[in-house]
Subunit: 327 residues, 2 copies
């Protein structure tokens, strides 16, 4: 059994715990937290919750440590730090900082011969895989990534910072006509704002001016000004009932040409529609944790991404069974 | 430059030639044929067309040999035979016989330390990849594969064998309502016939009885009797004009559950829509030929499939560039 450790017990930590319970070849060894351990209630009976300051004592009892912190401040520190002690995997998702994070984790992991796998999830992660496969197969073509329908945390925060706003959620929604134009092979030139609508659900403070709030949202530079933005004002009860979910999704397309005169067009479309963003992300993390263990047992070390992993390494089945069932 | 050899110059051979011309890191070394070489006109100037009986002389001038024969009789013989002399890759697509083909190619390739990669294309191939990734990520779920819209060679042949039929094409078409039921997360139980319509375009011989031909098609066991089948009678001119294309496509879905009480459903959908089935298939073959060369240069040998190949190996770009551009 692969012994799994979880660092951080928020939505991702809990999702990881659920995914590990679904994996017949894995066992949860411990959950590590910065909080007082006795205040953290986990789902799995008899699994210790341990303060992160004591994590080094678990060096020989954990095969793969799944890091469930945030990309802004947790992972840039945690992933290199723990890669010196454990095989680790994270879902670092600040695209622009991936090369820097890679270099830090690579150096740390190689010091002690561990594997540090980074940026595992759906974007980066499964969407990256699909971009790479499709570009390799159709070198002459155009890529399109659409996000949603799902909550954008950054845009929701921006709305919540407006005076008079008590609570808010912002959904990024793919524009149906843009999806259809891509699917039909028209190869349209589309900016991010051509591809997405922004829909806001806002609860106002007592006495706030709805018209003014709406104007401030719609005119907010970078976040909303260039977009087709829809604002709905709702009461707190409706907000709690209908806008607490964590659904998300998105699309990756490549439209590419082949033929002597490039006369043939081909469309590859990859789509995900998720009821729970954190539970899906951690399902990806857990499958790749299996690959981390296999690559480590082969003697590999250093920083890895989904692009380095043979698909068979994600699976519990033997290579022979995979060929028979899935090929 | 990776030196590529092509064996067989039909639709797949020609598609491979076009895809190699799009690859900046590859050169076409030779085309091998069973026909008299001077009767085979290829697209690329100054590339020799060579009779297959002389193929052994090219042992040191070809890095990867792409086998463009058929799965019924060519590849079961050719792939093991040439895997003793070259690194080879094929698009063997008889799903039920893959284990046997794998064993034969594995033994042959290992004799001389070559790589023999089999069943590369879209199904088997990209669809297999998607089934494996999605099953690894969502272990509790249901798979759905839909084919089409595209021509089924076997069903077209079956119609052509009916007395009075001069020419025929049969299109396999996914049932839109079935696609929607899967996409919406209903997890329907669907047989192959629930998922596909069969549409036939038939040119009759002079004096043939259309009603009788239609009845024979619709009642043909295994091929049509269980399906919703539509038959159109058209003249030869319309047939040539509208039914000579090689478009194809299909869908792979996985619908899977996560959560403490399996309360969250997730849908992964992979779709391809191809103007030219052979040109797309050979684009996949050429990308994987690049991986064959890389795996061979690392000292690997034996039979491989798409499940064994890290995605980065398909690409011309460095790992660093891939991380920056695609991750």
């Amino acid at each position: 059994m692969i012994q799994i450790g979880i660092v951080g017990y928020g939505n991702l930590g809990k999702g990881t715990e659920i995914a590990v319970a679904q994996a017949p070849d894995m066992e949860l060894a411990a959950v590590f937290t910065r909080r007082e351990p006795e205040t953290v209630k986990i789902l799995t009976p008899d699994v210790p919750v341990v303060h992160v300051r004591d994590i080094e004592r678990w060096k020989d009892r954990v095969d793969v440590l799944i890091l469930c912190g945030g990309s802004a401040t947790d992972l840039p520190v945690q992933t290199p730090r723990y890669a010196r002690l454990f095989n680790v995997i994270d879902s670092f998702d600040t695209h622009a900082k991936i090369p820097e994070h890679f270099a830090n984790v690579d150096a740390a992991a190689k010091e002690t011969g561990h594997i540090g796998m980074i940026s595992v999830g759906w974007d980066p992660g499964l969407f990256s895989l699909n971009r790479v496969y499709a570009n390799a197969i159709l070198p002459d073509g155009t890529d399109y990534t659409f996000w949603g329908k799902g909550v954008s945390q950054g845009h929701s925060d921006a709305v919540r910072r407006i005076a008079g706003v008590k609570n808010a959620k912002q959904y990024t929604i793919p524009v149906e006509a843009a999806l259809e134009a891509v699917r039909s092979g028209q190869n349209p030139a589309l900016s991010t704002k051509d591809k997405h609508l922004r829909e806001c659900f806002v609860v106002l403070e007592d006495g706030a001016d709805a018209a003014l709030v709406e104007k401030q949202i719609k005119e907010m530079p970078n976040y909303f000004a260039d977009y087709n933005t829809v604002v709905h004002f709702i009461d707190e009860e409706e907000f709690m009932q209908n806008h607490s979910g964590m659904a998300h999704g998105g699309f990756v397309f490549r439209s590419g040409r082949t033929g002597v005169n490039k006369e043939n067009n081909h469309i590859i479309e990859y789509r995900i529609k998720l009821d729970s963003n954190p539970e899906f992300t951690t399902s990806v993390l857990v499958a790749y944790a299996r690959a981390v263990q296999r690559m480590y047992s082969e003697g590999q070390s250093g920083c890895k991404t989904v692009l380095d992993v043979p698909p068979a390494y994600l699976c519990t089945q033997s290579d022979e069974e995979l060929r028979t069932r899935f090929l």
